[in-house]
């Protein structure tokens, strides 16, 4: 029992006495922890950035629609209309976690530039709100839609190239109204946009909500796009909103359910980076084990002296293990501090990344310190330092005292 209290004190003194050896072992542990924190934080950032990009440019955090709109909406859009008189919007808007809501009215039809028709997917939007929230939607020519544009249209980059449209061009939208008649609307191109997805840009247009309602001859909207103050609360907010709305009438879908691309990309990336992180982990384990092992092995003579003085082998073994634990703990703590500082520094500078697929916009990668990653890094360092000290501890117990003493030479 007594040994339990004495041991850490002795172990600490030993570490202080062998300053250089301890420093090297500590450095190995700290480097390892830093490497693990940085790798984990970087991979985490890759996922977060991908999610934010999808939320900002396409889905918003949560979408509320009539039940069944997602599956059958394009066939009979008029059946899934949320009437302008509905109080849904006010009810969602009043919630504390909601930053903004905006209505969208989807339609499909043809765009005519006087020479040819192209099939398009259009959306009627509220320009003021979208401009504030859709920060990934970059305007490459012309300007954003504003609330003042009654008959303005934004066209996707791909569509603009294909139909040779520039800001100021006059185009005609054709679409079916609710009762099946063909309706047209003359609009003027005010800008060309670029989103996360090239496929999307090749056939997407955006018009003010009022213009879309006029084209389709209907009032109301299909989708209520909800932006939350914090992406992290998506899950809880979705559950809360589902509880508050009648499930038979409304579908509430969070962004990660809407975007199949995100879920699958994350799965795949997770595995790909997982392999790399496993390599880093093994490397750290071995580097730490190697350093601690050398540090202990160099002191065989010292252990010989202790045994000659009558110390028990078990005492020496537990002393070595206690030293290993201390090294793991202190080195781990140093590594955590250094890793967090480095992560802050790198995040402040940013790692320039090329544009993601389907996009022409690059971004700055950062390192996100995740508590779970930090805990994992610490755990790995502790395990490595402990395991590395157990082996030499076992070896000591088989050592002959005279042989060990001879190492003092």
């Amino acid at each position: 029992m007594n040994a339990l209290f004495v041991m850490p004190g002795l172990a600490a003194r030993n570490l202080l006495r062998h300053r250089r050896r301890s420093a090297m072992a500590l450095a190995a542990v700290a480097f390892g922890v830093v490497a693990l924190i940085l790798t984990g934080g970087f991979v985490r950032d890759v996922f977060v950035q991908l999610g934010e990009a999808i939320i900002r440019s396409q889905t918003g955090h949560i979408q509320v629609s009539r039940s069944g709109f997602a599956e059958r909406g394009a066939r009979a859009p008029e059946q899934f209309l949320i009437e302008a008189t509905s109080d849904l919007r006010e009810r969602v808007e009043q919630r504390g976690d909601v930053e903004a809501v905006m209505a969208r009215l989807g339609f499909s039809g043809l765009l005519n530039n006087g020479r040819t028709d192209m099939a398009i997917v259009g959306e009627g939007i509220e320009p003021g709100r979208e401009a504030k929230l859709g920060s990934y939607l970059r305007i490459t020519a012309g300007r954003q839609l504003t609330d003042a544009d009654e008959f303005g249209i934004l066209v996707g980059q791909g569509l603009a190239t294909a139909m040779r449209l520039a800001p100021g061009a006059q185009v005609t939208l054709l679409a079916n109204t609710a009762d099946g008649a063909m309706n047209t609307l003359d609009v003027e191109v005010v800008g060309v946009f670029q989103s996360f997805s090239k496929d999307f840009d090749a056939r997407a247009v955006r018009v003010p909500l009022a213009a879309a309602q006029r084209l389709l001859d209907m009032s109301g909207y299909h989708l209520l796009v909800v932006h939350l103050a914090d992406t992290a609360s998506s899950e809880t907010s979705t559950a809360a909103l589902r509880g508050a709305l009648d499930p038979a009438r409304y579908d509430v879908r969070p962004w990660y359910e809407i975007s199949d691309f995100y879920a699958k990309t994350v799965d795949l990336y997770d595995r790909q980076f997982g392999v790399l992180r496993l390599v880093v982990l093994l490397l750290v384990l071995l580097a730490v084990a190697n350093s601690v092992n050398i540090a202990v092995a160099e002191r065989t003579g010292e252990f010989g002296t202790m045994m000659a003085l009558g110390n028990r082998r078990s005492e020496i073994a537990s002393l070595i293990v206690a030293e290993g634990a201390l090294i793991g703990l202190i080195g781990g703590a140093l590594g955590v501090v250094a890793g967090m500082l480095l992560a802050q520094l790198i995040s402040a500078i940013g790692i320039p990344m090329p544009p993601p697929p389907n996009s022409d916009l690059g971004y700055m990668a950062r390192i996100r310190v995740v508590p779970a990653e930090v805990a994992l890094a610490l755990g790995v360092a502790m395990v490595a330092a402990l395991t590395a000290s157990v082996l030499p501890a076992l070896r000591i117990s088989r050592l002959k005292i005279v042989d060990a003493l001879r190492q003092n030479a």
């Binding site: 490497a35 056939r203 699958k264 490397l283 071995l286």
Partner: protein, 409 residues
């Protein structure tokens, strides 16, 4: 020369004498090389796989079309038609390097089923050729296209559900070639999905004869070449561009110019992976440095003896650096062998990967170790070991003789 030889012999003896220390360094270097090989080899495998599946997904290795078709074809498709019969195409079909040549005709229009009419983008293809050319079109219901059933079309899953049709239903396709109106009736033969949901929501494919009938035209918009070996792409492309006669008035594009998605994925994923690889490399260098530092510093006493016997400081420095180089090379060679064996074993077992976005099935990844990767890893580790020995060697060689001797105790 003689001196160097003696030094080398001495180095070898020193390494053998300090068996345990040499082993520790050897392990650090060897494991580093193996880890680097596995990480880089895994990434190499993923890139090669990505390249091949991109080419086979839809693009083919080389696409032949009228100049300007890629940019402006969508606005005025009739102006970019290729001839129905062509000696160039026949010649390519019999080229031993070419696996398949497929013709494609792009068109768009309206699809109508019962009360629903929505717009689509369509492609007329040669069914027997596309089996190899369009592997990214995963048939999720029904059967693929066949030349025996010219009225059978395959629909994107989203398009079919929006139109409210299932396999076996009949759909009327409407188009307006040259101002007139034209219609054909097709049967839904199968449903497909691709990487892009937006594409699936509006795309369909049918045999090229039917597409020509609908568009009242002959010929095709593009010829898609699939080669047996991706490495031949540049050679075939150069040959095609060098031809005169019929080749004039044609534009040739290699897969690399067309695969925007692939190029960007590789650029982004490559950079992301580089960051992780960089961390791995730093960990390896640091761990080699650490080990080298420890093993050299432990021999201070020995250096003191050598200095006292009159060995020059430069000679000692050279000796240690030479030892570093030797052990670096030996460790790197051992690591390369272990890494290669591990890579082979892992490739045989396979790393199960989840399905990429848009694909229905996952795949099994392996590790590709190219000679280049091997050389890079060996060079890096050997250089790291040599450079890592510089600093501690310099330090011990500058030590005051008396102090160094005292380390002998």
């Amino acid at each position: 020369m003689q001196r160097l030889l003696i030094d080398l012999v001495l180095c070898g003896r020193n390494l053998r004498r300090n068996g345990r220390r040499s082993l520790a360094t050897l392990i650090a270097v060897g494991f580093g090389v193996a880890a680097l090989l596995l990480a880089a080899g895994f990434i190499e495998w993923i890139f090669i796989d990505m390249r091949e599946s991109t080419i086979r997904s839809r693009l083919g290795h080389i696409q032949i079309s009228r100049p300007g078709y890629q940019e402006a074809g969508a606005a005025d498709p009739a102006a970019f038609l290729l001839p129905q019969h062509s000696r160039l195409r026949d010649a390519l079909g019999s080229d031993p390097r070419v696996a398949a040549v497929g013709q494609r005709l792009a068109f768009s229009g309206l699809a109508s089923h019962g009360p629903t009419t929505i717009s689509f983008i369509g492609e007329g293809v040669e069914p027997d050729k596309e089996a190899a050319l369009s592997t990214s079109l995963a048939i999720v219901a029904g059967e693929p296209l066949t030349a025996d059933a010219p009225a059978g079309a395959i629909f994107g899953r989203g398009l079919a559900s929006n139109l409210g049709v299932e396999v076996g239903d009949t759909v009327v396709l409407l188009a307006s070639p040259g101002g007139g109106i034209s219609a054909i009736e097709v049967r839904v033969r199968g449903l497909f999905t691709t990487v892009s949901k937006q594409f699936d929501d509006s795309a369909l494919r049918l045999p090229i004869e039917s597409a020509r009938r609908l568009m009242r035209t002959e010929g095709a918009h593009s010829w898609v070449l699939l080669l047996k070996n991706t490495a031949d792409t540049d050679a075939v492309l150069a040959e095609l561009r060098g031809r005169d006669g019929e080749a004039q008035g044609l534009a040739f594009a290699g897969w690399h110019e067309l695969a925007d998605f692939y190029r960007k994925t590789v650029a982004l994923f490559g950079r992301q992976v580089r960051v992780v690889e960089f961390i791995i490399a730093v960990v390896i260098v640091l761990s080699i440095f650490n080990t080298m530092m420890m093993t050299v510093m432990e021999r201070t006493g020995e250096v003191g003896t050598a200095l006292a016997l009159g060995v020059g400081r430069w000679r000692i420095l050279r000796q240690f650096v030479l030892e570093g180089l030797l052990i670096g090379l030996a460790g790197a060679a051992a690591g390369a062998i272990v890494g290669w064996l591990l890579a082979t074993a892992i490739t045989i077992v396979g790393i199960p990967m989840p399905p990429p976005p848009g694909m229905a099935r996952g795949y099994v990844a392996g590790v590709t170790v190219t000679p280049r990767l091997m050389l890079d890893a060996i060079f890096m580790a050997a250089a790291a070991a040599t450079i890592a020995s510089l600093y501690p060697a310099w330090r011990v060689s500058r030590w005051p003789i008396i102090d160094a001797l005292r380390h002998n105790r």
